[in-house]
Amino acid sequence: MIATVWRVAGVGFSLLLVLIAALLYGDSASQHAFLNSQIGEVTIGFAVRTDDLTVLLLAVVGVVATCVQIYSLGYLHERAASYHALVTLFTAAMAAVVVADSLFLLLIGWEVMGACSYLLISHYWERREARSGAVKAFLMTRLADVGFLFGIFVLGVGAGTFRISALDPAQIDPGVLTTGTLLLLVGVVGKSAQVPLQTWLPDAMPGPSPVSALIHAATMVAAGVFLIARLYDVFAASATTMTVLAIVACVTMLYAALCAAAAVEVKRVLAWSTVSQLAIMFAALSLGTHEGRHAALFHLVTHAAFKGLLFLCAGVLLHQVGSAAFVVLRRYTRRGRLRKALPVTFVTMTIGLAALAGVPGFAGFFSKDSVLEAAWEHAHGGSVVGWFVLVSVGLTAGLTAFYCMRLWLWVFFRTPALAGAVGAFEADDPMADLEDPDTSKLKDASWLMLAPLVLLALGAIALGYVDGLHLNWVVALASTVVVIFGVLPAYSLWSRGADPRPVLLEREFGVDRAYHALFVVPVRWLSKLSVLGDRDVVGAYVRAVGRSGALASQGFRLLQTGNVQTYLTAAVVGVVALAVLAGVIAS
């Protein structure tokens, strides 16, 4: 009953967002402040605004949330009430971020998203990796949010206002501006899982797949991109911040693409791919040009469509097959049955992967090209950052094509060279020798789940054209070549049944382990130290005071001999001493 109410409420709320976005479309920008209170010289309170960016993001959030809510009706059966309630709350929080004109309203939405993300990742709280992934996600983003909060302080106090529309970079001291934007960047890096706070996103994958689609692909992680786009004037005014952003983005996109190329679980590949794609958006933003911002937002929209689609497809695999690990999927694919049993999923996933890889004609191709174009133009203007971004995005495009192809082939196709024989993933599978799993009952998911797939798949194609076709043919050609160079090795490896995964990549460069040793272990030690310190140092003083009191009383009790003459002697001695003292003082 309650679950039904929340289901309806969830779908309704997301549709409402779409409706609001549609109503606001074309409206002139405006702001409205409410519930403010004066604290010293600054005002703390709430404010909302509407402008093109708000409408765009509201539309994205609304559409993806609607798809996810509908999809979840079919996907999720247990604990549906809390699930739908949290997804709705998340959607509301994301909407708050999008419409916020007050940095505090933005922060509220920002962190409530984080909390919802935490709660939704741990939706399957029976599973250990879900629990630890959730905690990790929350703590890493929380750490970043501290920087974000401080950034708000620095900017807000520096500008004398916490209203986004009132932040004027020209009015702020350049040092303050750089500090503030760098601190905000910390929050952005955490939320969007960029280097060095990237490790939480892949570990967030034990959450339900629709949640991954909504939160960890389309909306929340893209909130960082949105934030920089929102405060673009402020960020662009600080060259240092933009350079740092460029470096972070370029390192992240390559790092994450490499990690994705070695991951052996569909959702993990997609997670790393998300990190990498977000980095592409940041790289576009870091150009500091209008084209860069436009390209980033374009990519954000298309990415929301195709990555949301891909995660929902992975969800279908999980739901129908029971696992999205390559090893398990290969058991079904060996006979080529997966593709035939799940035709809709196969087609939509192919579209999604094509869009992600940047195959010409799909949305991802256009949006990525607009990034490349912006970088190219910027680089042409003599910017080192522009060149840097151009090269990195180019390399990443190749790597992206590689891991998309690898994923597609290994999940859906039996290896031609060794039809029926042992391929890379079969060799690792202890159950490979057993009977083939019973695939007779394997069928595509219900229409509730497939409808969003189809919708998003259409988006993953059509969204590329909504921006109008203005291709720079040189860039387009070059990126197509890069894609082909990425696809070919993946195909050749697969056809030989090989999947070389360098240890370095498989361990994701050991970052997780290093963080564990650098942060988790010392904190554990410190916590032990603190507990022991309280017990054995601070507590010891207190106990020592108590003991010394008890000991002193033991000692003084000995004076109580019961012998009257002793008492009298003491009294006389006391009188004599007092008399002497009086004499001494008097003289």
Binding site: Q565, T566, T569, V572, V573, V575, V576, A579, V580
Partner: protein, 165 residues
């Protein structure tokens, strides 16, 4: 003349008092107390307080010491010398008493070293009686009540059964 008389009585009092607190025989101590009290009575006489001296002899020597002797007998005090008549603290007690004596003596000498007493006969029964019953009649009555209280107290104490607490 009175000074000489006083000096003699004083020497007797001191010597006997020393014997009171050092004698190994308790009964002897009680008897030396008689001597001391008598000598002090002599001192009173030398100071022209004849009435007080008489009261001293009557009450102290006549009543109190007899009471003490009764008490000694009732508590089965041995008449032979006792080595353990003083406690182990006696040297310390002596030291304390000595220091106290030194202190008081010094104080007395410093304060009254040059004062003289002119012996005037002013201690007969009439004078004292007049003083008590004219000037000090209220304290006297209070004192009598106190005496009564002490009497009752002593009776109450002696009526108590042993072991009752």
């Amino acid at each position: 003349m009175t000074t000489a008389l006083f000096a003699v009585a004083a020497v007797v009092a001191v010597v006997s008092a020393v014997l009171v607190v050092t004698s190994r025989r308790i009964v002897h101590a009680a008897l030396w107390l008689v001597v001391t009290l008598g000598a002090v009575a002599g001192c009173f006489g030398a100071l022209h307080a004849e009435f007080v001296a008489l009261v001293q002899i009557l009450v102290y020597v006549g009543a109190i010491v007899v009471l003490v002797l009764f008490a000694l007998m009732l508590t089965k005090a041995p008449t032979n010398p006792l080595p353990t008549l003083t406690t182990a603290r006696s040297p310390f007690a002596a030291a304390v008493a000595g220091v106290l004596a030194l202190l008081l003596g010094t104080g007395v000498v410093i304060a009254f070293g040059k004062e003289k007493i002119k012996p005037v006969p002013a201690g007969d029964a009439e004078t004292v009686g007049t003083a008590i019953f004219k000037t000090w009649v209220l304290p006297f009555e209070v004192l009598s009540v106190l005496l009564l209280a002490a009497l009752i107290g002593a009776i109450a104490l002696s009526q108590r059964k042993s072991g009752e607490s």
